[in-house]
């Protein structure tokens, strides 16, 4: 039975903020084969492509047939906890602060034995469901969850080290003017966020959403324009120490490739709202978030970028926009490395064309803003890193993996 999380007390402003520590991040390159599964939230095991044997820990040759053709393949995470222990003494500063820490040997139905972090509701002898999670250092780790949902399951302290649950956390949605931004604000409020700071740029422009936003529980409207350095810095000065999760919904979608557009004005606007906006946010909010990575139950924990899936491969119909999204994706990777010392996760939510004004001429399937918001909440609650929302995004991901040259010609 997991103790439900209680709303965090107001922070004593005179108290020292604990420095974020990380568990060991050292992994072999081979072990990184499981990171993708952890980042996307599916279970995989190293599998021999020749004899089909699964094994763990990841190896460079199959322990059955010595084949070198090994890849992480989807597998069944069901198993039994053969033994458990509660570690009460550790040489590692991160775990020392979190003692006792429970781990166990999980014997998978698929065969291998896996040393795993244990959820509080899982005991030796229990059936369990193993998942790969990303820990505070951003590395994939095995986590043994109860076979079926238990009460307050998400509030387990060890699980919360892996997840980024918005419950009681304070979240900044950088652009709440758009349909996407509004869906995000409302989903966060429903997910139990403590405060949702809803960003509105250019307050002199009418915002029909303003009134609806103010009626949502926990919403505070804040002025922020990601194209304006001063505005981003000013808001960070006001609420920067209270932003536990930052969700960048700012977008500037315009159709067109390179040649038919006259000049670089629109491209520059796309970069201002996208790539440069991300840099402005990173400079203004990043350092404080990184510093607050271990600041109690509502520590800073996540940074979400909502990106077009065409950041991964260019869609010439929105060619210049795709390019700006590719720049953001690359910047997000840099940000991921820069925020990692604070244990702050960078999530990229890749979406296909949205059911919004700028994709009016694009045929379905399209993604409803609420679907993106739902996927974002799910990613936070499960602690994912890469999320693919909607049929188009899934399709692009599969086709890219299958044949990147084919999709380049087909798009």
């Amino acid at each position: 039975m997991t103790e439900p999380l209680t709303p965090p007390k107001r922070k004593n402003p005179l108290e020292r903020t604990r420095a974020p520590l990380l568990p060991s991040a050292i992994r072999s390159r081979t072990a990184q084969m499981l990171t993708l599964a952890a980042a996307e939230g599916w279970f995989a095991l190293p599998t021999c492509l020749d004899c089909g044997a699964v094994h763990y820990p990841p190896r460079d040759a199959c322990p059955k047939c010595l084949s070198a053709r090994i890849a992480a393949q989807a597998a069944d995470g069901g198993g039994r906890v053969a033994a458990e222990t509660a570690i009460r003494t550790s040489t590692d500063p991160y775990f020392r602060e979190r003692m006792p820490w429970r781990i166990g040997t999980v014997v998978l139905d698929a065969g291998p034995s896996v040393i795993a972090h244990l959820h509080g509701d899982v005991r030796a002898g229990d059936r369990t469901r193993l998942e790969w999670k990303l820990d505070k250092s951003g590395q994939a780790v095995a986590f043994a969850l109860p076979q079926t949902e238990t009460a307050n399951m998400a509030d387990d302290p060890q699980l919360r080290e892996m997840t980024l649950d918005p419950k009681f956390r304070r979240v900044l949605v950088t652009d709440a003017r758009t349909a996407l931004g509004q869906a995000m604000v409302s989903a966060l409020s429903k997910a139990g966020a403590g405060i949702v700071f809803a960003g509105l740029a250019e307050p002199w422009k009418p915002a029909p959403a303003r009134e609806a936003l103010t009626r949502i529980r926990g919403v505070e409207i804040v002025p922020i324009d990601v194209t304006d350095t001063d505005s981003v810095n000013e808001l960070a000065g006001e609420i920067g120490a209270k932003v536990d999760i930052l969700i960048n919904t700012a977008e500037h979608v315009r159709p067109g490739g390179l040649m038919e557009r006259k000049g670089v004005g629109v491209a520059r606007e796309e970069l201002e709202a996208g790539y440069l906006g991300l840099i402005r946010l990173a400079q203004a909010f990043g350092p404080t978030m990184r510093f607050r990575g271990a600041d109690g139950a509502n520590s800073a924990c996540a940074w979400v970028n909502v990106l077009s899936v065409f950041a991964q491969v260019n869609w010439p119909q929105f060619g210049a926009h795709s390019a700006s999204q590719a720049a953001m994706l690359s910047a997000a990777q840099s940000l991921r490395a820069e925020l990692r010392p604070g244990g702050v996760r960078v999530i990229n939510v890749f979406t296909g064309p949205l059911e919004t004004e700028w994709y009016q001429a694009v045929p379905p399937p399209k993604v409803a803003p609420s679907q993106v918001a739902g996927a974002t909440i799910d990613a936070l609650q499960r602690g994912l890193e890469d999320v693919w929302v909607g049929d188009i995004a899934q399709d692009v991901r599969s086709r890219l993996a299958a044949n990147p040259k084919a999709i380049e010609r087909e798009l």
Binding site: W204, P206, D225, D228, D230, S231, G265, V266
Partner: protein
């Protein structure tokens, strides 16, 4: 140039010895001539013209530090600014509008220096604009003004005072579902000023020389269409027009010398004889 200008220059000359500029300098030093700043501060918060989003947009003012006594430049502070030619208090050259595109010397760099200082007639529409944000300046209003202050002389700026510059940003842009609602001139009024009075240009406190709903007028955007088609100039986003006399002020409005530019942000100053201030009506 104009009789009014000659008349205005006489007063300081009475008080001092002789020589126009020397007398002017003396008057300036003595405080007999006040310099009123008609410029809005360039800031990212200041509204810009809003067009349908599929069209090219007015680049808002942005400022980025190059260095500030730091590792980027230890002893100095400076910035890079970005803005369009039509951001903040700015000047419109005839080439800005399609009606002026084939005129000679129609670009901002060709704006003759000799015209960069010119007298101003200030028509106070503040009360009417307060009552009706879509207020249009009509020929009748101009004629009423002229009955009191004399005929508007050729070669001067006509500035439409609405006190719009005193509004907060939201009320200033005054955007509603059907677009901006801000005052401006009617086609007939602009025609009168351009064709009958031969003004140098027309200036407003609002984002454009035209009214917010001017796309519904005939012709649409009459100020832009008629002024620039006749090779005249525009000034927008002016401030402090309430501190100018109806007549007698000299406007200093030199835009940036941008090659082939359509307009320019600028600092606009007005020289006002002290005893004449506060009297605009």
């Amino acid at each position: 140039m104009t009789s009014r200008r000659t008349k205005a220059a006489k007063t300081p000359a009475d008080a001092t010895a002789s020589g126009g500029l020397a007398a002017f300098a003396t008057a300036l030093a003595a405080g007999a001539v006040e310099i009123v700043d008609l410029t809005q501060t360039l800031s990212p918060d200041f509204p810009t013209l809003v067009l349908p989003p599929e069209l090219g947009q007015c680049t808002p003012f942005r400022i980025e530090e190059i260095s500030r006594y730091d590792e980027r430049g230890p002893a100095w502070y400076w910035n890079t600014i970005t803005l369009s030619e039509h951001t903040g208090t700015h000047f419109d050259a005839p080439v800005h509008w399609i009606t002026g595109r084939d005129l000679p010397n129609n670009t901002v760099d060709a704006f003759p220096a000799q015209k960069q200082i010119a007298p101003a007639c200030v028509i106070d529409c503040a009360a009417a604009a307060a009552a009706d944000p879509d207020f249009l300046l009509e020929p009748a209003h101009i004629e009423t003004w002229e009955a009191r202050h004399g005929t508007i002389p050729a070669g001067c700026w006509v500035l439409m005072r609405t006190d719009w510059s005193k509004r907060d940003a939201g009320a200033y842009a005054n955007l509603r579902e059907d677009g901006a609602h801000t005052p401006g001139p009617s086609p007939a009024a602009i025609r009168l000023l351009v064709e009958k009075r031969a003004i140098l240009g027309f200036g407003t406190e609002t984002i454009g020389t035209d009214a917010g709903q001017a796309h519904h007028l005939d012709p649409p955007y009459p100020a832009h269409t008629i002024l620039h088609g006749a090779g005249r100039y525009g000034l927008q986003c002016l401030a402090n027009l309430d501190r100018l006399p109806a007549t007698g002020a000299l406007v200093v409005a030199p835009p940036l010398k941008i090659r082939h530019g359509s307009g320019s942000p600028l600092r606009v100053l007005a020289l006002v004889e002290r005893k004449a201030t506060g009297g605009a009506a």
